[in-house]
């Protein structure tokens, strides 16, 4: 025994040592994997947290150029800057995490980039400040008030939002996401309350509107050569499919002005505005334009009257790539004309009549409504393709599920072209909105 035993023992010990190192290394690598995953997750989470704080600053309008912070030993730096796209901002959050991995101390970074812009209201299929009866007659600003319900048979396409609460009964259909500031007021209809919310719903969201867009539109109209700003008079515009438009002042006689121009000749900047007067529009338009009616010093002015069909020459229903877009922006009401302004006689319509409107409608104090919607006889259907932004709920008629009592039924479809585009100068919300969010 002696030397050979010692050699055996030493050899065995060496073998054991080698395998112990190998096994330990395997364990170390496993722990290092977990540690790296944790470090990466921490780094990512802190970068997202920084971007969230930056987002809050941008949405609240209290943003600064940059700030930094630290969470659980992970630091972050956030920069807020304007981008090359006018009216947009970018928040960039970069986190730095130092951790100990297999190779010793390592540093890890993560980046989140969020972009914000004031998107136009045209991306909403239906927008209202509150779901009440906001009808104003042509001669008075008094409101009927009272809730307007979305019921079984009502369908809204495109994003739908109200700054107060929805009134939902039965089984109304919402094709895209529905938002509101308050949760909805609900009611059973024939024992049913089951709204179809295809895009989901979210409450607690407010999208404030401001009057600043009107000032901008007025200045765009007046800065054209020639100026497209009319003051203190009603203006009639009849659009033609060849890209021209007939201007009549006053609309019924044209005694002050009656001529036909190209769209660009009439409104070089794409915006025409009337202040202290009403606008009457109709026909088939080609090209892009926004027409604006402002109240000025006359409280009951600033209305847009839609005299019959108002459609795009290149029908977006047939050609979704059509570039014809018309914005109707009224400080007060947008009326579908039901009484001939020249004769004062009710326009003859029956339940099979159809009025087609293809436009982006924005009403600051009023709504889209049929003139005298609650007293005229059943007049058929308004087929609306575009976007609606109003102070209250649209009112085209009085109907139950099966019976039309007064006015029109409303067939409302969102024009998806308005999701990414809009007529010139179309109003934007008072605050920024998230348009893209990049995470590694």
């Amino acid at each position: 025994m002696g030397k050979s035993t010692i050699i055996y023992v030493v050899g065995l010990a060496t073998l054991l040592l080698a395998y112990t190192v190998m096994v330990t290394d395997t364990s170390t690598r496993a722990v290092a994997n977990a540690a790296e995953y944790y470090a990466r997750t921490s780094s990512h989470t802190v970068a997202v947290a920084g971007a969230n704080i930056g987002t809050h600053f941008v949405l609240m309008g209290t943003d600064t150029a940059s700030f930094a912070g630290s969470m659980n030993g992970v630091t972050f730096t956030v920069t807020i800057e304007s981008t090359l796209v006018p009216g947009s901002k970018r928040v960039t959050s970069v986190s730095t995490n130092t951790y100990f991995g297999r190779l010793g101390e390592s540093t890890m970074h993560d980046t989140v980039v969020a972009t914000f812009r004031r998107l136009t209201f045209s991306r909403y299929g239906y927008f209202s400040d509150s779901e009440v009866n906001g009808y104003m007659s042509p001669v008075s600003d008094s409101l009927a008030g009272g809730p307007v319900w979305k019921e079984t048979g009502d369908s809204l396409f495109g994003y739908a939002h109200t700054n107060r609460r929805w009134n939902l009964a039965g089984r109304p259909y919402f094709d895209s996401k529905v938002t509101a500031f308050n949760p909805p007021r609900t009611e059973l209809l024939d024992g049913v309350y089951a709204p179809v919310l295809n895009g989901g719903a979210e409450w607690g969201i407010a999208v404030p509107r401001s009057a600043a867009s009107f000032t901008t539109l007025e200045s765009i109209a007046s800065s054209g050569l020639p100026s497209a700003l009319f003051t203190g008079e009603d203006v009639g515009l009849t659009f033609f499919g060849n890209g021209t438009v007939r201007v009549r002042i006053p609309p019924s006689t044209g005694t002050t002005r009656d001529d036909t121009l190209t769209m660009s000749g009439l409104m070089p900047n794409g915006v025409l505005a009337v202040t202290g007067g009403d606008l009457r529009v109709g026909g088939s338009y080609r090209g892009q334009a926004t027409v604006v009616a402002l109240s000025g010093s006359a409280p009951t002015k600033g209305n847009i009257w839609i005299d019959g069909n108002l459609v795009a020459a290149d029908d977006p229903l047939v050609n979704p790539m059509s570039t014809d877009m018309l914005g109707l922006v009224a400080e007060r009401m947008a009326y579908v004309t039901t009484v001939d302004p020249a004769t004062g006689v009710l326009i003859p319509r029956d339940e099979s009549s159809v009025v087609r409107i293809e436009a982006a409608v924005y009403s600051r104090r009023g709504i889209l409504a049929a003139q005298a919607y609650d007293s005229i006889p059943p007049s058929g259907r308004v087929s609306f393709l575009g976007t609606l932004t109003m102070n209250a709920a649209a009112l085209l008629g009085v109907a139950s599920e099966t019976t039309l009592h007064h006015g029109f039924r409303l067939s409302l479809r969102h024009d998806d072209r308005f999701f990414g585009g809009a007529p010139p100068g179309f109003p934007v919300p008072a605050k920024f909105e998230l348009v893209s969010w990049w995470e590694n």
Partner: protein, 196 residues
């Protein structure tokens, strides 16, 4: 005589020590193999998860209308649109759990990733379970025919080592594949929440 005892004794003890060493070597080898297989599987799982998380966070990025970002929403297959490389072009990304037949005729399930119709890349080669659940903002199951409802994606994934190994603590005949499980309960892309 004492020399004879020394020789015989050292041969007996030496033989015993050698046998012990061989047994130890064998055990340590098996254990090391088991650990290595588990480690490889863990590394593969972490890599796959990292890629998946990175992809899913970008759903809808760069698209004009996020309502159309999700194109296929099945429990074992998702297809979405995103500008995944930030190059200004929208890609279509598929993650799918697909059956594959090996050279020996045996079938296994693998997790694949495909970008804009290019050949599918196998992310994990033996995946006994892969499940996608689509949830609304409130965390309730979304109607997958109404893709606009989907705001959160919940993923569950089980991965298995490509070959079985024996566990020295359970006996040399008890050969088993090593498995790992991963679950992400709230994978959200902010781009699905935006309005434009």
């Amino acid at each position: 005589m004492s020399i004879m005892f020394d020789l015989i004794g050292s041969v007996i003890i030496g033989a015993y020590v050698i046998l012990m060493g061989i047994r130890l070597n064998s055990n340590i080898g098996e254990h090391a193999q088991l650990s290595m297989v588990a480690l490889n599987m863990q590394e593969a799982l972490v890599d796959a998860v990292r890629t998946m998380e990175s992809d899913f966070r970008k759903i809808g990025y760069g698209t004009v209308d996020p309502r159309t970002a999700l194109e296929v929403t099945q429990p074992d297959h998702i297809r979405f649109k995103a500008d995944i490389n930030r190059d200004g072009y929208i890609e279509r990304i598929d993650w799918a759990w697909e059956k594959t037949v090996g050279a020996s005729g045996d079938t296994t399930m693998e997790l694949t990733r495909r970008v804009s119709g290019e050949p599918a890349m196998v992310i994990l080669s033996d995946v006994p379970m892969f499940r996608l659940e689509y949830l609304t903002e409130a965390g309730e199951p979304a109607d997958t025919s109404a893709k606009g409802q989907i705001q959160v994606i919940q993923t569950a994934l089980k991965v298995r080592s490509p070959y079985a190994v024996s566990d020295p603590f359970r006996g040399p005949d008890d050969r088993t594949a090593v498995e790992g499980f991963w679950r992400q309960t709230r994978l959200v892309s902010r781009n699905l929440k935006r309005h434009g």
